[in-house]
């Protein structure tokens, strides 16, 4: 009995000691935000990294030195998908001004949680079917950006004097979103080489670079000139393989996705195996969402981040990307914005128009 009392007392004391450190006044009038990510986290060098960069940029800080992390903004990574709903609720209970989630895998959880917290503001990237008054949804016209990188790769091959270049596409988990990347890329290539052979492969995973690396090796060995991967962390395997082969003197390229992956492909100090990157500027969404919260104009709904709005583009970071290619791609970019070039969003449309070959792994909803 006495022992139990002592234990209880000690516990109570320990508890009160913990309870004291509760005074964390929020001194700034800037909004607070939490980013929730899937298991790959903000080190995925693409999607989550971009969302995080946008948040950090909004507060005028850098990713290398996020001074206000933990005060104004933070990030919570879920290690498995059964943590999505609890993590959303944890964030909503903690009282952030805005909760950001990225990717369609979060949609079901968000649709479940958002109505339970009607005063909480949420935003999601890459989803347009939540239809909740407190959820701001951003979608991107990835097909437009992918068109540009496909065009750039094809023009580069032409400038290199390659007669019958082959091209590869590596996707993560097949979905209507990834299909937009693939179709745009194919249309870009076909505008230069109407009969080019295009191969595709889906890794069914966002975090398995070894799968992409093995596939890329196989393709490069069989004469593929350039591979575009839209596969999150998986795509890093493509870049690794392209790097190895370029160091060995082969003329092959990888194309980065979402973020500018030029730096990931650097070899020999100055050269990069990443010819260009399809830029999906997710950071612009988080910046936009946060600005809306700060200005008090936040409203649920769908916003399409098109090329015109600066949502997508391509990277000119690699000096080996020929000047004439850049000129031509920029011209095409203007044509896309003006509507002179229409890029299809679904495999079905592209098939019907004869813009994509049959038998690809791309899936529509």
């Amino acid at each position: 009995m006495k022992k139990t009392l002592v234990v209880l007392l000690v516990l109570a004391m320990a508890f009160s000691a913990f309870a004291q450190a509760q005074t964390e006044a929020k001194t700034s009038d800037k909004p607070t935000v939490r980013l929730l990510t899937d298991a790959t986290g903000i080190d995925d060098k693409s999607f989550n990294a971009a969302a995080w960069r946008g948040i950090v940029d909004f507060y005028g800080e850098t990713v290398a030195n996020p001074a206000s992390k933990g005060k104004l903004y933070d990030v919570v990574t879920a290690s498995s998908s059964d943590m999505y709903i609890p993590n959303l609720k944890n964030a909503a209970d903690a009282g952030y001004d805005l909760i950001v989630v990225t990717g369609f895998t979060w949609a079901d959880a968000l649709i479940e949680v958002a109505p339970q917290y009607p005063d909480q503001k949420f935003m999601i990237v890459d989803v347009n079917w939540c239809s909740q008054p407190n959820v701001l949804e951003y979608i991107y016209t990835e097909e437009q950006g992918s068109y540009l990188v496909g065009l750039a790769a094809a023009l580069q091959a032409k400038a290199d004097g390659i007669a019958n270049p082959k091209f590869g596409f590596i996707g993560g988990v097949p979905s209507s979103t990834i299909t937009k990347f693939e179709i745009g890329y194919i249309m870009g290539i076909k505008s230069v080489f109407p009969n080019a052979e295009i191969l595709d492969f889906y890794a069914n995973d966002w975090g398995k670079p070894e799968l992409a690396k093995a596939q890329a090796k196989n393709w490069y060995d069989n004469g593929v000139y350039c591979i575009f991967s839209a596969a999150g962390g998986t795509g890093n395997g493509t870049i690794a393989q392209a790097k190895e082969y370029r160091m060995a003197g082969k003329n092959v390229w990888a194309i980065g996705v979402d973020s500018d992956q030029y730096a990931d492909g650097i070899y020999d100090g100055t050269k990069s195996a990443v010819l260009t990157s399809m830029l999906k500027l997710v950071e612009n969404s988080t910046i936009d969402g946060l600005s809306k919260v700060a200005a008090g104009t936040f409203k649920g709904g769908v916003i399409e981040m098109s090329m015109e709005m600066g949502g997508v583009g391509y990277s000119k970071a690699n000096p080996e990307l020929k000047a004439e290619v850049i000129t031509a791609v920029d011209a095409a970019s203007a044509d896309v914005i003006s509507g002179k070039i229409t890029v299809y969003k679904t495999y079905k449309e592209a098939l019907a128009a004869g813009a994509a070959p049959a038998g690809l792994g791309a899936l529509d909803d």
């Binding site: 990030v75 919570v76 059964d82």
Partner: protein, 369 residues
Amino acid sequence: MKRNDLNRTSFIDWFLGNDGAISFAVVILGFIFGTIIVLLVGKNPINMYKSLLYSMIGRARSNGGWNFRYIGETLNYSIPFVLCGFAMAFAYRVGLFNVGGEGQYIMGMTAAQTVALLLPPFPGQWVVCLLAAIMAGAIWGGIVGLLKARFKVSEVVATIMLNYIALYLSRLICLQHPGATTYNTAALPATSKLAKFLIPSSNLNIGFFFMLAAVFIYWFVMEKTKAGFAFRATGYNQDAARCSGIPVVRSISVSMAVAGAFAGLAGALVLLGGAYPKGRIIVSMDNYGFNGMAVALVGNCRAIGTLLAGLLFGVMKQSQSLMQDMDIPKEITYIIQGLIVVFIALRAGLQLVREYRAKRIVASKVASV
């Protein structure tokens, strides 16, 4: 003086002979090393303990009030850990190393989802879902048991292979479910969902009682029944068991099937427990099955031990979110879990120490006579 010596000897011997005490010490050791690592990376370990404590007692960080939902999530996370722990433990007591908890878990989940989505909704559908999951897990484990008992196929290799077969088979099956896209299916009908209890804002559901029932069943079967004795005897020494008339072949295949049933149930409880509004098409493993191996080893493959270890893992899982809130990398929970498992492996070494001490005591007694 002499008496004191004797006492000290007996404490060490008691400690070395008590698996529960060793497990406890190992967990403490894991946390001590975890604390050191947190300090080394320049973070405040108090925050780590705070988030663990808050997950256990349901205290909110932001407004200094209470948030009992944390307790609910913690308990809910521990359900699959405990059940998958039994999937490991049940086989382990029979002398088998079941690495296939993950595959059995996946098959259970797949079976439950198939029943939930393909049958028209009817009241009490969740019961059928759970039964289907238990059956599927039992079959998936039983295959290995049969292969092991009949053809001496290594259960380790077989279960590892079956994990991957389960993952891709599950994808094949689930892609045929109604409303299947590339990553989810149609919504799970309400009749297949498990009812929430106690803390309705959390995902805590009546699956918790099934987990508690499993603890009791495991304890009762293993420790109190003739069949349990046959299982354990097979585990200690197969040849001796066979010579004493214990049907070893049956023990091995049945034990793997029972182990699979526990993991299969875990799969169904995770799917129907509120974390998933829609059916799943898994792209990778949830790792509950693999973590269950660690849970069972920490819990020393005993009923209460596995329960406590599973609860500990549940606390660590829920606290991941709170830890990141307080600028502690969530990976520290994995490091601690890993350290605990590594230290648990030292138990064999402690056994040697114990034997050595026993020999020395006998020797000194002989000398003193």
